[in-house]
């Protein structure tokens, strides 16, 4: 008698077998978590301004963020947010019944817009990251 509950699950979990939609879905989860964590950290940092009334502590914390490595992270954060925003639009369009049969085209189209916006952000931030300009 068959007792088979064996499933060959891993076969299509191997990343080289993923199609575009699967990658995008996974990236959407990952960027979502990053943005949520950033949001929490951001609120904590900003609320530090309430800790002492003359605001010195807050100013000191803000100084830390002029660090070039942290500015680099900020640029990466912009990329994460742009991806999540524009793919989020794609998902909303699907829920409105738009673009389902052109999901890949829609993805690349929206990403093209995201890349252009990212270029502006990089253009503005890179001098500070390279240390050529100072805040």
């Amino acid at each position: 008698m068959y007792r088979g509950s064996y499933r060959q699950r891993h076969a299509d979990l191997w990343p080289t077998n993923y199609k575009l939609g699967m990658w995008v879905w996974l990236l959407h989860r990952v960027t979502g978590v990053i943005i949520a964590l950033y949001g929490i950290a951001h609120l904590l940092v900003i609320s530090s301004s309430l800790l002492n009334s003359d605001g010195d502590l807050f100013e000191d914390i803000m100084k830390v963020f002029e660090n070039r490595v942290l500015l680099g992270f900020e640029l990466a954060l912009i990329a994460v947010i742009l991806f999540h925003t524009f793919n989020g639009l794609r998902v909303i369009l699907f829920d409105l019944g738009i673009g389902i049969r052109a999901q890949k085209l829609l993805f690349w189209g929206l990403m093209a817009v995201a890349v252009i916006l990212f270029a502006f952000a990089a253009d503005a931030l890179l001098p500070y990251i390279r240390g050529e300009a100072r805040l």
Binding site: G4, S5, R9, D12, W25, I100
Partner: protein, 246 residues
Amino acid sequence: MAEPAKSSLKVFRFDPDRDREPHFDTFEVPQREGLTVLEALFDILETQDGSLAFRYACRGAVCGSCAMYINGAYRLACQTQVAAFSSGELTVGPMPHFPVIKDLAVDMTEFFRKYERIMPFLVAQSAPPEKERVQTPEAREAIDEMVDCILCGCCYSSCPTVWTDKEYLGPAALTKAYRFLADSRDEAAGERLSIVAGGDGIWRCHTIFNCAEACPKRINPTWSIQQLKRKSALRRLSSWLIRSST
């Protein structure tokens, strides 16, 4: 005469009565023009290993029995030619997210239990007409794509929501639900929407499109699911409006 070229098939083997773990056996099969993966499996069965288990019926991509995972993609064995892989090397496994009965044959009980849940038949409430319930060619065209579904299970096995939610109806059943809902002769729209809009229905679909990529009949289940979402949302909205205006 020269020996015909051979293709090598790495075939998933699992016999629950004997094996604790599955393994792969490699078979050499003589290549010939038009040879399908299903025919190659027959060749193995007849000339090399009579214990190989796999499912098939129509051999022409209409019964949905021979769905397998071949070289990293969901395919029908009868529709896939060995020559499509220029390396001459094939890896043939069962659909990954079904329990294996033996070798390439999987247990589709859950798949068909969910299919039954969506009432896969026409429901008419009105009295039968004298002759037949007429459907215009245009009305039929609207459901052509969904009618084509052969219930092979490729989309179901490929769906991440199916992997994580045991009761999720899945892309095939939902596609069929839309097929009947959108049928001009059907008269059970309300009931159908209640079934698919439940906790294990359309709202669990995350529009990942694995199903559309997997379907060997080029059906796009995501499209049908999104139509169901829209209809279901509109129904909720209108019943709210009616309630709040009275």
